[in-house]
């Protein structure tokens, strides 16, 4: 190409003196060593977003420690009670209020129930609530926020006004009211948490979708005739999965905390079932005489919260490096 168009659209022919590559005689050319091409070859396999995130996450010692702790606690919660000779509800008056020993690792409560097994059972309930509540909120939040952000306009305005109204009052007040209304069961806790927690997720998803919907690939998808729902759930949501997962990770400890808080107020899980919140609550009257009854569940809940928060921090840095402090 030795001619080009100038800005008026006329063909401009370069002056004779300027050297153009095909004016150079062939013998002047020299073959390059083929090895030069090697520098262009991609040696390592290219990493996907998730592989990249995982390699960042793996390098974060606190987050990895948190992950190990949660895996251990989950396994202990699932399999621990099977191998124990005690059950969470068996009362044994002869054994009441025993201090920790080889027989009863965490001691026994005032009904002679083994606190170790009860703490493991508490882990089952608390972790179930944490993960199931976070999962439900993920689904509701993604659908609500996605629709609101993608369709925009009047739909968005109405949907967001509704969210703003709910947002103004602390979650725990709603949850307490709902629990009074629904009664003290595991299902009602899940319903109460699901009805309130999705609001934060929905707001986050909405803002993500709004930034993504003006990108070229959305336009391209539209141009080839993809339906709105397909664009939303096949393109926009998967692309905002990083921040969504981070938000949901932090929902797990909040849900565990809320359940424990409710149980502590006496409107959580009912006896003989136990969550960590009820265990701490039950131990308050005997705090002066048998402090260990409170100590072990309290430690269990604190360690879990620590681990989940570390995982959340680690995931945030790994999935969304821009947010890194």
């Amino acid at each position: 190409m030795h001619s080009a168009l100038n800005k008026n659209g006329d063909i401009v022919v370069p002056r004779e003196s300027s050297l153009v590559w095909h004016d150079i005689p062939d013998e002047e050319f020299e073959k390059l060593d083929q090895s030069a091409k090697q520098s262009e070859v991609v040696l390592r396999k290219s990493k996907s977003y998730w592989q990249d995130a995982w390699s960042r996450f793996r390098k974060d010692p606190l987050a990895m420690a948190g992950l190990v702790v949660i895996v251990v606690i989950t396994l202990a919660a699932i399999f621990g009670p099977i191998f124990s000779s005690y059950s969470y509800e068996d009362q044994n008056i002869a054994n009441q209020n025993q201090s920790p020993s080889l027989e009863h690792w965490f001691g026994t409560d005032k009904f002679g129930r083994d606190i170790f097994v009860r703490t493991l059972y508490g882990a089952r309930i608390s972790l179930t609530i944490g993960f199931v509540a976070a999962g439900i909120n993920l689904v509701i939040g993604v659908i609500y926020g996605g629709i609101s952000g993608y369709f925009g306009g009047k739909i968005d305005m109405i949907m967001m006004r509704f969210v703003d109204i709910l947002y103004g009052v602390p979650d725990l007040l709603y949850i307490i009211l709902l629990m009074m209304f629904l009664g003290n069961t595991l299902e009602s806790i899940l319903i109460a948490l699901s009805l309130t927690y999705w609001i934060g997720t929905a707001r986050m998803v909405r803002s993500q979708v709004i930034t993504l919907k003006f990108q070229e690939y959305t336009l391209a998808a539209k141009a080839i005739g993809s339906s709105n729902l397909r664009i939303l759930f096949k393109h926009l949501i998967p692309n905002s999965m990083g921040p969504i997962i981070v938000t949901v990770t932090f929902l797990v400890p909040s849900a565990i905390f809320s359940e424990a808080f409710l149980s502590f107020l006496g409107i959580g899980i009912q006896v003989p079932m136990a969550s960590w919140g009820t265990l701490v609550n039950d131990a308050i009257p005997s705090l002066f005489t048998q402090p260990y009854q409170m100590l072990f569940p309290a430690i269990a809940i604190s360690i879990t919260m620590f681990a989940l928060n570390f995982i959340g921090d680690g995931l945030r840095d790994a999935l969304d490096p821009r947010l890194k402090k």
Binding site: R161, D164, I165, L166, G168, V169, P170, L172, L173, Y174, I176, L177, L178, M180, F181, P253, F257, A260, F261, F264, L265, G266, I267, G277, V280, I284, L287, F288, P291, M294, L295, A298, I301, S302, M305, F306, N309, F310, K325
Partner: protein
């Protein structure tokens, strides 16, 4: 600006109305009447009827609702179902000053220590002071407030017998409840302040100030702090809410006669009128606080884009 305030004002009113409505209908649709206690005590039908008339429960629900709204407009939150001749207004008049006192001290402490910790760890970034402050902050965010409160009580009242366990009669009684209430918020504010401070310290005007030879302490406290503190204002609303829910725990554990304890015992006694009244009170209180904070934020930070 005026448009924004008016808009926020009506949005707050609407939020209040929805809250009151939801609370009212939830509390009135709980299975089992307020006078049919679990202990199977036989109440004569005539007495039941009299009591229902006294509380206006014989009316259809929508009439009760309208009456409740009318009374609310006059500031009347109704009577307790369980405590004889005690109105919710009286409970609030007695309990709120106590709760507010503990809460205000805790808010003050949380802001002071949280902001200081955040500044220190931002300017000593990566040093041991930063590490210590951030480990402390992580502990504060991770340990649930009821666990912390019970642990505080265990260590300071049971093991070392340093501080009193219940009541609110001397300054010593305030120490543990205030720590229990403010620990979590301190941690949150410290993290918020740290990241905001780091962000501001990167800005060009800080470089300019240093280049002009402004002493470092003035750069930090005059130039940086003024800008870094703005995000903290947004946390004031949630902070008040945290004090409120925290008071349910702290007042219960330390037997402080505030409205947090009234609310919790209302839950325990299934005293629906007290729960209804106090929820409305808490909700309205928080909505008003959020409104004030929003306005404050718009005034302080001119960069906040107010959508028309």
């Amino acid at each position: 600006m005026v448009g924004y305030i008016v808009k926020r004002f009506f949005a707050s009113l609407l939020t209040m109305f929805v809250l009151i409505t939801i609370t009212f209908f939830l509390m009135h649709s709980i299975p089992g009447g307020p006078f049919s206690p679990a202990e199977e005590r036989k109440v004569p039908a005539s007495v039941l009827q009299k009591m229902e008339e006294k509380f206006g429960l014989h009316e259809p629900l929508h009439v009760q609702y309208v009456n409740y709204l009318k009374n609310l407009l006059q500031g009347d939150l109704g009577f307790s179902f369980k405590q004889l001749d005690v109105s919710v207004n009286e409970l609030i008049a007695q309990g709120f000053p106590i709760s507010a006192k503990v809460g205000l001290i805790a808010i003050g402490l949380a802001l002071l220590i949280g902001i200081l910790l955040g500044i220190v760890s931002a300017i000593k970034r990566g040093k041991w002071a930063d590490w210590t402050a951030m480990i402390f902050a992580t502990i504060g965010i991770s340990i649930p407030n009821f666990v912390l409160t019970v642990l505080l009580m265990f260590f300071f009242c049971v093991m070392f017998k340093l501080l009193p366990t219940y009541g609110l009669t001397s300054w010593k009684h305030y120490i543990l409840p205030v720590i229990g209430l403010s620990f979590g918020p301190i941690a949150y504010i410290a993290r918020l302040m740290r990241s905001s401070m780091l962000e501001v310290m990167r800005q060009d005007f800080i470089l300019t100030a240093r280049a002009k030879g402004v002493p470092e302490y003035r750069v930090i406290f005059k130039h940086a702090l003024k800008n870094a503190i703005i995000p903290i204002v947004t946390y004031l609303g949630p902070l008040v809410a945290a004090m409120l829910t925290g008071s349910f725990i702290v007042e219960r554990v330390f037997s402080i006669p505030g409205i947090g304890r009234d609310f919790v015992s209302g839950i325990g006694d299934r005293d629906y009128s007290v729960i209804l009244g106090l929820t409305v009170f808490f909700g309205v209180f928080i909505i008003v606080m959020n409104f004030i904070v929003d306005i404050l934020y718009a005034i302080i930070d001119k960069r906040v884009k107010i959508e028309e």
